[in-house]
């Protein structure tokens, strides 16, 4: 028991640094996904037919291919083929960002479509351009509605980030595996890794819950149902 505890204590700073890398991957991926998701959702709802077709193809590709396959395809395949020098952390953030971008696009698309159509019409009737109406009227509401689904996406991407260890990114899982294979203390180290994932999940979801409460629309959204 003592040896097991020692193994975790000794490895903890090393694992913690892995947790920082995991957090960076997830933050970057969610950020990339947010930008892609918003743009793609707007294109899917308001764009011309040819654009919708193109964006649907993007959605189908990233939702239809496993993340592990995408990591190999991009990191060992595409980036090598195009001779792009990119470190493993950035590659994982990019692939996860493009993947979550596809899922987030559908979250935002659903949120936009759930808004009463009349609001866009009312904004237009006041002389707002389409861009101004989307930016000032549609997105502020759609993004608020999306927060619960977005926090789900955060926890999914956080856990998917563990796949990064197969391409050698120094995140929690890779570091736990590295130490465990040397000390043979598999149980305590993977428990510690699990705990770090759990803490990151808890911190992120709690923060998003607070955000959801902070930006709730009085009398309309974000209130607890009794």
């Amino acid at each position: 028991m003592h040896a097991q505890l020692n193994a975790v204590v000794d490895a903890f700073p090393y694992l913690l640094f892995g947790a920082v890398n995991t957090a960076l991957i997830v933050l970057a991926a969610m950020g990339i996904g947010l930008v892609i998701g918003v743009v793609v959702a707007i294109g899917l709802v308001y764009g011309p037919g040819w654009l919708k077709l193109l964006l649907s193809a993007y959605l189908w590709f990233f939702r239809g291919v496993p993340i592990l396959a995408l990591l190999f395809l991009f990191y060992f395949g595409l980036f090598s083929y195009l001779n792009i020098q990119i470190n493993a952390l950035a590659a994982v953030a990019l692939v996860l960002g493009c993947t979550t971008g596809a899922y987030q696009a559908n979250i935002f698309r659903g949120a936009i479509m759930s808004l009463p159509r009349g609001q866009f019409r009312a904004a237009s009737a006041l002389g707002m351009s389409d861009v101004a109406a989307i930016r000032s009227i549609i997105l502020p509401q759609a993004l608020r509605i999306s927060i619960p689904a977005w926090s789900n996406e955060y926890s999914i991407i956080l856990k998917d980030s563990a796949l990064a260890f197969v391409i050698g990114a120094p995140e929690i899982m890779a570091r736990a595996q590295f130490v465990a294979s040397r000390t043979y203390q598999h149980l305590p180290l993977y428990l510690a890794a699990g705990l770090l994932y759990f803490l990151l999940t808890w911190a992120g979801i709690s923060a998003l819950r607070k955000l959801e409460h902070k930006v709730r629309i009085p009398g309309y959204s974000g209130e607890e149902q009794t």
Partner: protein, 257 residues
């Protein structure tokens, strides 16, 4: 032609089809400054589509829209944005922006469209809200307002843009009977101030007392037009009189003034 004779707004031979079905068939309406015209007729007759074609929320397939004698380029988005700034629109279901309080529902277009500073926009918005009797509701969100209050905010929002014409698409139809009165009072007040209006409504009191001209629409065509004093004479046999009689019967006579 004298400038006062030029209609503020003129829709000429406007036609519109949806999925191959003709909704509007060559409809023409002109509004001179201060004039109030009321669209009546059975549901599905094209009243809402006509109003939406006039401020180009729906683009007409054929015909033209002119503002103060100048034809609007229907294929130029900037022209459409400018037209809509001049032609306010009130919807049946209010269409307030749910994430903004009453004050910001009004300031948003002033700031984003007219590029007015936040302070000046808020000052104007407070003034407009006071005009419609909601000076104490500035901080409330749409979900915290009654239907009548929402519609009054919507009217204040449109008026803050200083429109030359106000289009009203059944402004009282989604309201409970006890809330209709407060919206009618605001519309009467606007009429008293000389606001040019084209209104689709089933409110007998508005039709008979405010309209300079009644336009009876059926199957996408204006089939009858004239002053209420001519069309609403009991027993005159006009479609308008028959329609209003049926509305009165439905309302059990309570709205008839």
């Amino acid at each position: 032609m004298n400038s006062s004779e030029i209609p503020v707004l003129q829709a000429d031979k406007v036609s519109k089809s949806f999925s191959g079905q003709r909704i509007l068939n060559g409809v023409s309406v002109g509004l001179k400054r201060g004039e109030i015209k009321v669209l009546i007729g059975p549901s599905g007759g094209g009243k809402s589509t006509l109003l939406q074609c006039i401020n180009c929320l729906v683009l007409p397939d054929e015909g033209s829209i002119s503002l103060a004698g100048v034809e609007v380029d229907l294929h130029n988005k900037k022209s459409l944005y400018q037209l809509r700034q001049q032609v306010g629109m009130i919807f049946q279901d209010f269409n307030l922006f749910d994430h903004l309080n009453a004050l910001d529902n009004i300031t948003i277009a002033l700031r984003k469209v007219k590029k007015i500073s936040r302070t000046a926009a808020e000052k104007r918005a407070r003034l407009e809200l006071e005009q419609v009797g909601l000076g104490d509701k500035t901080d409330l969100y749409p979900a915290q307002l009654s239907g009548g209050q929402k519609q009054r905010v919507a009217i204040a929002r449109a008026l803050a843009m200083d429109p030359q014409v106000l289009l009203l698409d059944e402004p009282t139809s989604a309201l409970d009977p006890e809330l209709i009165g407060e919206v009618i009072a605001v519309i009467r007040n606007l009429a008293g101030k000389g606001m040019t209006m084209l209104m689709a409504t089933h409110q007998i009191s508005l039709i008979s007392t405010l309209a300079d001209e009644i336009l009876f629409m059926e199957a996408g065509v204006i089939v009858e037009r004239g002053a209420p004093s001519l069309l609403l004479v009991p027993g005159c046999g006009s479609k308008s009189a028959g329609f209003c009689d049926r509305l009165s019967e439905l309302a059990d006579g309570e709205c008839k003034c």
